[in-house]
Symmetry: C2
Subunit: 270 residues, 2 copies
DNA sequence: ATAATAGTGTCTATCAGACATTATCTG
DNA sequence: CAGATAATGTCTGATAGACACTATTAT
């Protein structure tokens, strides 16, 4: 089969020798990471942002990201960047979507393959150009805030109806509400990532990535509620997760004064 | 804000002038299309394949695809390629996944942003290098066949368990069973596309893209069953779709002799 | 009439939503 | 004990699975 000639009577070997990648458009390709975690006191969803120290969008906050190297898959690149930021291994990491608007980067054509990572116990990195932000995602707005740095990034959301063939989508469109927003189109990555996580959280086991190895059901429920941004009924929630978990035998004291001890659980190994 | 200088004391304007895209890795980026349709007699799921007339994988069947041009989004490129193949407009077209293995193309680094399109009434294109193939996707195998051309492409599937952080995936891995398979990693695109379609079919309206504007419920049920590759209970199915459809008032005769006439339906406009 | 297909009726098990009750802990 | 939190009980309504039955057509 290798001997097969093409229309110019070239074998595959000859063809590959003559092939010049410069004949085709070659954009830069990056991967950007939506790294999510939960506050230690389960009061807020958190997202890791970095402050850009270079043009374009210099001094703006952005999702961590970087160019994909020659010998890497997009996943490998995302994994490398994730490790350089969090020093964590074997962490949940999944492709969200690929963003390709021609003008999304003013330098040159840059496409971005976005990944989402879910980590437990975000350690309090306290560098100047890297920080965990509180993330609040409602039907009306997205707010990213960091109290220590006094930064409050805010977008208002409009639900817009898109038509794809005969299928109608309800999609969020973000409009910057405050003075300065995230760099590039990173707010769209946040939106797509949260949307995907909300779709999957009931069927997959993503929530278990955001709690510690052992957890109580009130804690796990808070994780679900933070992601979905709505309260869940305690009994229904417990019924729903009951066959995914197993008791450790231990009990945990509630963080706040008063109240009964919680039973401790682990994810059930199949 | 434009006046802000970077570490080399360059303004954004100066920086962009000096910025050289050649300093970074720039792969070629294509989009490949999984274009699905249903046989006129609702007996088989169909996929549009093209025969490659150039190295690499010359003479192999492949998903239609092409390079993304300078001024296009990936969606625009997919839409352009789709129209050149099917001459259809306003058709369902959605991003599936981006494939980035460094060696997936022997020419050079080529990433592919895969899209899925759903069309009704595949017209019988009967050219030498473009044809609709029957697609059968079971838990054990994927078979792509075209009787007129005497082509039967077959892969056996293994369910493999992948671990992503704490989340375990059941994923299909394809191994070529026949003599020649699809070009490149296109079988993976088929797998990812069908997987995504199966996940969405009950919640979205994708099935309506595969039938004609008016349809009967036995027809619509066949579409679901072909995609899911399992039988559905008639009554449950009808209850499930009942609030998405509306009667036209017409009746349609069954294609085969004998049997009661079916009522005709349309998708309900919201 | 018979076979084939279309369309309904109904029972069951499951499960999310909703709310009430019991259990346990701190001060 | 009061107040707070954890855990469980129970009712309802919706729905998927399963099967049975009725209705309409062609031969």
């Amino acid at each position: 089969m290798k001997a097969k000639k093409n229309t110019q009577a070239l074998s595959e070997e000859q063809f590959l020798k003559l092939y010049n990648p410069e004949d085709y458009i070659r954009p830069s390709v990056t991967t950007d990471l939506l790294i999510l975690g939960i506050n230690k006191d389960y009061s807020s969803l958190k997202v890791l942002l970095v402050k850009r120290n270079e043009h374009p969008y210099i001094d703006r906050w952005a999702l961590p990201g970087g160019f994909i190297q020659n010998d890497e898959t997009a996943y490998n690149a995302a994994s490398r960047i994730l490790q350089s930021k969090t020093h964590l291994r074997d962490v949940y990491l999944d492709q969200i979507y690929t963003f390709t608007k021609p003008d999304r980067d003013p330098r040159t054509r840059v496409m971005s393959i976005a990944y989402m990572s879910l980590v437990s116990e975000p350690d309090e990195t306290s560098s100047d150009d890297e920080a965990w932000f509180n993330l609040k995602f409602t039907d009306q707005s997205i707010e990213l805030s960091n109290k220590e740095k006094g930064i409050f990034i805010s977008y208002t959301l409009k639900k817009e109806s898109f038509q794809n063939g005969i299928v109608r989508y309800e999609n969020f469109t973000a409009a910057l509400a405050g003075k300065e927003g995230l760099a590039f189109d990173h707010i769209e990555i946040v939106i797509e990532g949260i949307k995907k996580l909300r779709e999957q959280i009931f069927y997959g086991n993503q929530a278990f990535c955001l709690v510690e190895k052992t957890f109580t059901l009130p804690e796990l429920q808070l994780v679900f509620e933070l992601i979905l941004n709505r309260p869940l009924y305690k009994k229904s929630f417990r019924d729903m997760v009951s066959e995914k978990i197993v008791q450790t035998g231990n009990e945990k004291k509630s963080k706040i004064a008063g109240g009964r001890k919680s039973k401790e659980y682990m994810m059930k190994e199949i």
